[in-house]
Structure formats: C-alpha cells, structure tokens
Symmetry: C2
Subunit: 453 residues, 2 copies
C-alpha cells in the first residue's frame, strides 16, 4: 500500500484508540491511568502524522480485528467496478459513520410516536420529506437496500399465484421479491437493441390475461437495466400499465442518486432507489417512495391486537417492520444527500465522460460496445473478444493479463480474468482520471500491438 | 462539548479530508494541485492534534453535512439507554467502518457463486461458520436487524390465517413479522412475576387448537423480554412446543452477543440476534441461525424461472433476497465479533454490576425494581414513583429535574422527563463507572432530601 494511504489509515485508527480512552474515562475527567494512556496514544498519533506528511515510515497496522485487510481500493485505484462507482461515500458520509457508528445512534432523541421517520434530531423527519420531494413523490421511507423496497411492494400487492410483469433484463432481486410474496414473474421479451418497449409490455399483459384469466398485479421496470444500462421507456410503459389499472414500480437502482428522477412525470406509483449503489451511502440502504394513492397500502400500519394483553402498536408500519435503518447507515445516507442532490444536476457531464471513454476504447480495433451507443449511462457492457481477448489467448496469464496491466496502472474493478464481455462504470471520475483511464487502456493495447484506429 | 472530545472528532474529520485528497488524485501520485491541498490539510491536522493533546482551542466544526450534530454521547456520558448499551461499537468496529464505509465494500472479491456468505476475502464465509458455531446452530446468515430474521421465519412457515404463539411480553416486531406473513399472534398470558412458563404455553397451544382447529405454526419466545428483561424458560417452552411438533424461534435480541447462547441446548429451531442491540454492531444488523432440519426451509433457494429468458438464479436465497449486508454494517459486525465472543464469557460480572447498582438504587427509600430481583440481566425496569417522582411533583422542571441532574453529572440515556417507571441498562460499564453511576443517583437523592436506608 502507498505509504501515505497506509499512514492515513493508521492515523485514523490511532485516533479511534484515543477516542476509546475518552470513552473509557468517567465523566469527571481523564483519570491518572487514562491520562498516561492518553499521552502515550497521542505520541503515537503524532509520529504517524509526521510519517504521513513526509511520506515515510513502514506499515505498522495491516489488519483490523486481526483478520480484515485495510481496504484501500478507492485511495489507491481508479475503481471502475460496475456496481461500486456511485456508492462510494462522500467525505461527509465518512464523517457521519465516525460520529454515528454505534448501534442505535439515530435514536437518542426518539420521542412519541416512536418511529424512525418522525425523529427530528438528527433531522431524519426532514430528510424523509426532502427525499420524497427529490423524487417528486408524496411519501418516502428508507429501506435496507432497494430489494427490500421491491419486497415491501410485492408483499403488499401480490398474493399467491398472482402475476407480476418484469423486464426480460430484470434484476434477480425483483424475481426474489415476487417469489417471496408467492407471485410469479412474467418477463417482457427484449426488443431490438436490448430495449423494453411499451408495446412489448402491452402484449405481455394481454398474454398474461389470456393465460391466467387475471390482470397482473404489478409492473416492475428498470429505468436503466443492470445488464447493459440501456434506457427503457418507463413513461411509455407506465401509460400502458395504467391503461390496465396496473400500478408501476420504477426501479431506479441505477438512476436515483445519479440523475434527476421525476417519479410522477415517469408515471411511477412506486420509486425504488439504492443507497449503496447510487446514493453514495453505506450498505444496506435504499429508498421506497410512493404516491398518496398507494401510501396507505404499502405503508399501512399494523392492525394486529394482542388477544390477551390487547396491545396495539398502531403507528408501526407492517412492511417496514417498524423502524428500518436506525444508525450509521441512515446517517451516512443523510450526510451524502446534499452532494447527491447536487450531483444529479451534472449527469450530462457524467454521460459525456462515459462516451469519451467509450470512443477511446472503441478506437482499439476489435473492441465493441454491447450497450446502446452513444451511451446514456456511465455503466456499460463492452466486448473485447476481438481485442484484449486475442492477446489473452496466447498469454501465459490468459485473461488475467489485462487485470495485471490495469492493476499495475492503478486501475481496479474490472472483472478479474474477463477479456470478452465485461462491464465497467466510470461514474464520478474526474476528467483527469478519465483521461488517465482511457490512456491506460490504449497503452496496454499498444504494448500488445493491438491496432488503434 | 469537552474540548478533547471535540478535537478528537475534528482530527478524525480533518484526516478524512486528507483521505479525500488521496482519493481524488490520479494513481501516478499526488499531482501539484493535490500536493498543495495535501499540505494545507496536513497543517490543519497538526494544529488540531496539538489542541487535542493540550486540551486547548475552540470548536471549529460543529455539524456534519451542515445539519447533523456531532454525536458525543458515548465520549461524554455514561450511557444507560435501555437499547443502546450493548450496541456501542468496539474500537475495531469503528476502524472497520472507516476502512469499509463505501457502498458495496464487502464485494471486491465476490466470485462465483456470487453470494455474500460465500466471500472469503474479507473472511465473510468464515464469519458465517463461526457465527453458527457461536450459537451452537448449524447454519447462520446475517440479516438487517433481528426483525428481518423474524420476518424470514414467519414468511417461510406462516400462511394466511395461521396462528403463531408469542409471549404476552413479545416485542412489537414479532407482531409485525407475523402480520406481514398474514398470520395471527396468539399471546401466552404472563404468569406471576411477569414470567412466561412452559405450562402457560402448553395451555395456550391447546386453546388455539380448540379455537382454530389447527396447530400453531410457530412459537416465538424472548429469552429475556424487552419490558422487564426477565428470564423465561425457553428450554422448557421448547420441549412443550416440540411435543406438538411446533418449531421454536428463540428471540435472542437481549442475549446473543452479551451472554453465552447455546441454541441446541435451548431446543431452538431458529435463533435470532440483533447486531445493533447486543453485538456491538452498526444498524441495521442481526443474525438468523437454524438447524439442518430447517435450513432448507428458511434459507431455500429460488425456484423461479424467467418464462421468456429461462433465467434462473439458483443459489440466491428467497428470504434473504440474495445478499443482505454488503458493506460497512457487516464489516463492523465482523470486527466486533472477537470481542463479542469473549465478552459473553464474562456475563456473570455484568450481572453482578447490575445488581450492585440496583442495591444502591433500592437504598433510596421509595424506589422499587419492577424486573425480577436479584437481576439476571443488565437491563432493568425500575419504579421511582415513591422517590424521584415525589421530588418531581413540586419541582418547577417536573420530571426533567432528574434528567437535568443526571446530565450535569455526565449521565445520559434515561427517558427524559420520566421519574415513575423507566428502564436502564448498565451493560459494559466498568466498575469505576458503576460506582460513579450509583454515587450520582445517591447524591441526587441526598440533594433533594430523599431518605437513604
């Protein structure tokens, strides 16, 4: 590990040890014993800080809790991993994790009616209001991942044997959410160019009606799918769904938090987003937003009464199981939110960088882009069977030669060993990094005598 | 805020800013622009470190992301909040949050078959094995909170209209999990001393059979309940349940992570624990463990096939919705685990401290303990209607006088304003802190001329 990165972690960790001394002391001040410990720890902090500034010293801490390596992927590499790019934390989110790491840290000021989204200090209630507004929906809740949003909706709307329309490119978590509710997924066939069209959705709904004699209960559509990150016409699809009076779930795992999302304009009855995928938030986090029409269904409160004690827990929401993210995960999400809101306004620039990279990659002869092109997203699927895979065929490291070359240049997140079809995500990289990235691929191509056209 | 605490946070935050500079730089080293920024930031770090060591300076950072206060409850106070005590993080967990905060940070080395509990680096697979062994169960999974464990079991076992036996002291999340599955809770009446007895469970099962003509599908019992933290005879109850061939869910939200739990000895078919409540872990986290007999039911893999694409996601578990805690939450849990395992061996000492405090509180005339006594747990419900509430009656701050007095002495976590029946938890406090805590209550009593007997 780069010594400056190493020493940054050591300094942070050493300060956590200092912090523990403060925690261990009784409130009337640092006692004599803790005082010694404090000063020893401070000496250590200062020595590390000096090394950090000078770029000197050698690693002293290499494991957390004895067996976890220090993760320095984001400090040492340009990370192009398909699902990690938009989930890396902002500095403010990292600070929130430091300050709010402890278990139920969000709950210090939980007062009647005792529900997470009603807490005003820290400003969790306001955050919920802003989150709904951000998506142009009426109500929002935080959930432990987008999948838990799918689950809440499926569990509320779908009964045993009911059909749910999903995309032929749907993520597996949509399958599971429907299966968990006892329903059956019905896939919309993918049209030319790997797109899901409103017409194909209409046709599928008709087929399901004929086959089952019943209307599907829900249409779930990914605005951008996880396989190609192609854009699908959610607005057109929602019109079709609504013609049949079927509600539409907008899967924004790859949109909410990176580009502007207007739920109502999209005709969404439900908007689901992922915190750890696209909102610069810790896992597991996500958002489920809905309209006034559906809020009472998906956020219905408990109707159960204890048969003996007559207890009721009236304000608790069944699908949320009461409270969802009671500590660091939510605090991280909230701390990133101002930056996340702002960054969605600069999506065009991210798309421009994505296309800049793609042009440069495509100039390496034999390379293809499998996603729609020009790109409308920063996640892309490429096919380098005709370029890097040709090299891999005769290289003793096979496909790993590309990983080796990328790693040497400080690039990580490609699927190790893959040189045929693979995905990458350039979200959030500066122009300087984009140029470095594109240059690196071309350098590797040149090194192995691939043609640049 | 105490200036040393303040400066510790400022130093940690300033180092996160340094870290961001390292992140922003291209991999070939810190460029000129970043170099300037780096040195400016390092100067700032050093100035803060000097203030921290000397205990000088004034607060420079008071908010995260502009609107979140820095949480210093654990640094500045003895925290007796009923649900927070055993969820405060270990230093190693805090370091893990620092290193693994980013979104999908656990997934760098996710390889076939692509499931969280199979990842070997960081050692997530080993952690799952150890977690099952720790509970003496066959298989374990991490879940986003104990409630999500209840949900997975209820959803697997309980159908519409089915009955589930719960305690008359059951937590509301058990109600919700059953309701979400379409089932109905049937409460076991509380016996003398606020205990749930095997006989009462047997009687309730018989009643349900008569009333519904069907066996209950599940018995969920809290080893220690959340209201009094009284111990309930889970082992005896499991024998009763098994006589009817009904599986037993052991709710260990207040036991797993603080005391030894032997699931099989308890006769548990399912053990559920809470990370943020009792395993020194960030929220939302928890564990669901089961036996070989039930693993295929509750951890069943998806059977769904895409009707058009024929896609299958065979290894993904329906109730887990695939992967659960893909980043910091799990990493924090894992980092605390060695300490958590060790600390359960010292539960007797924790109980001793709990009783030490209770004796001192009870010596304030008019105070009562509502939980079973002597205490077998660190969470207790007390009744100070005859002591502190008498003061509150004529105090201009009413019940808040007690909060004020406690706060002045660096004690937090009592329910603000409550002077009649309230709960506290002394888990994890050193003997020094315990004495300080007990002395503080007695000092307050003396100040207001309550009798010490």
């Amino acid at each position: 590990m780069d010594i400056r990165v190493q020493k940054t972690f050591e300094a942070l960790f050493a300060l956590e040890d200092v912090r523990q001394t403060l925690r261990d002391s009784v409130p009337d001040g640092i006692g004599l014993h803790e005082g010694d410990r404090f000063h020893e720890q401070m000496s250590r902090v200062k020595a590390i800080i000096n090394d950090l500034e000078a770029g000197t010293g050698s690693p002293e801490v290499t494991r957390i809790a004895g067996n976890m390596e220090i993760r320095s992927r984001e400090e040492e590499y340009i990370n192009i991993q398909p699902i990690q790019a938009a989930g890396r934390l902002t500095p403010e989110a990292r600070k929130a994790l430091i300050a709010y790491g402890d278990g139920y840290s969000a709950c210090d000021n939980c007062r009647k009616p005792f529900r997470l989204d009603k807490i005003s200090k820290p400003p969790i209630a306001d955050f919920h209001t802003e989150l709904a507004a951000f998506l142009n929906m009426d109500t929002a809740r935080v959930v432990p991942g987008a999948r838990r949003g799918f689950q809440a909706v499926a569990s509320s709307l779908v009964g045993p044997g009911d059909s749910v329309i999903v995309s032929g490119l749907a993520h597996y978590t949509e399958f599971l959410a429907v299966e968990e509710a006892g329903g059956i997924v019905k896939e919309v066939p993918v049209s030319a160019g790997n797109k899901i069209t409103p017409d194909a959705v209409a046709e599928k709904i008709e087929t399901v009606i004929i086959e089952t004699g019943k209307l599907p209960k829900l249409v779930m559509i990914d605005h951008f799918d996880y396989q190609f990150a192609n854009e699908h016409d959610v607005r057109g699809i929602s019109k079709v769904a609504h013609q049949y009076d079927i509600p539409l779930l907008y899967n924004g795992a790859y949109t909410v938090g990176v580009m502007p999302v207007d739920g109502k304009k999209m005709g969404a009855d439900f908007v689901v987003g992922s915190g750890h995928k696209s909102m610069a938030s810790p896992a597991p986090s996500g958002v489920l937003a809905t309209t006034d029409e559906w809020a009472d269904v998906v956020f219905r409160t408990t109707q159960m009464t204890g048969d003996v004690t007559k207890r009721k827990f009236g304000i608790k929401e069944v699908e949320m199981l009461g409270c969802t993210l009671m500590g660091s995960t939510l605090m991280g999400m909230m701390a990133s939110f101002p930056v996340v809101k702002e960054r969605t306004l600069h999506w065009d620039e991210e798309v421009k960088k994505s296309n800049f990279f793609m042009e440069r990659l495509l100039s390496i002869q034999g390379s293809r882009v499998m996603s729609e092109y020009p790109r409308k997203h920063t996640l892309s699927k490429v096919d380098t069977t005709g370029s890097f895979d040709v090299v891999a065929q005769s290289h003793k490291r096979r496909g790993f030669f590309l990983s080796d070359e990328l790693s040497k240049r400080g690039i990580a997140g490609e699927f190790a060993g893959a040189t045929r079809m693979w995905k990458l995500n350039t979200y959030g990289l500066s122009w300087e990094k984009m140029r470095y990235l594109a240059d690196s691929f071309q350098e590797i191509a040149e090194k192995y005598e691939l043609q640049i056209v």
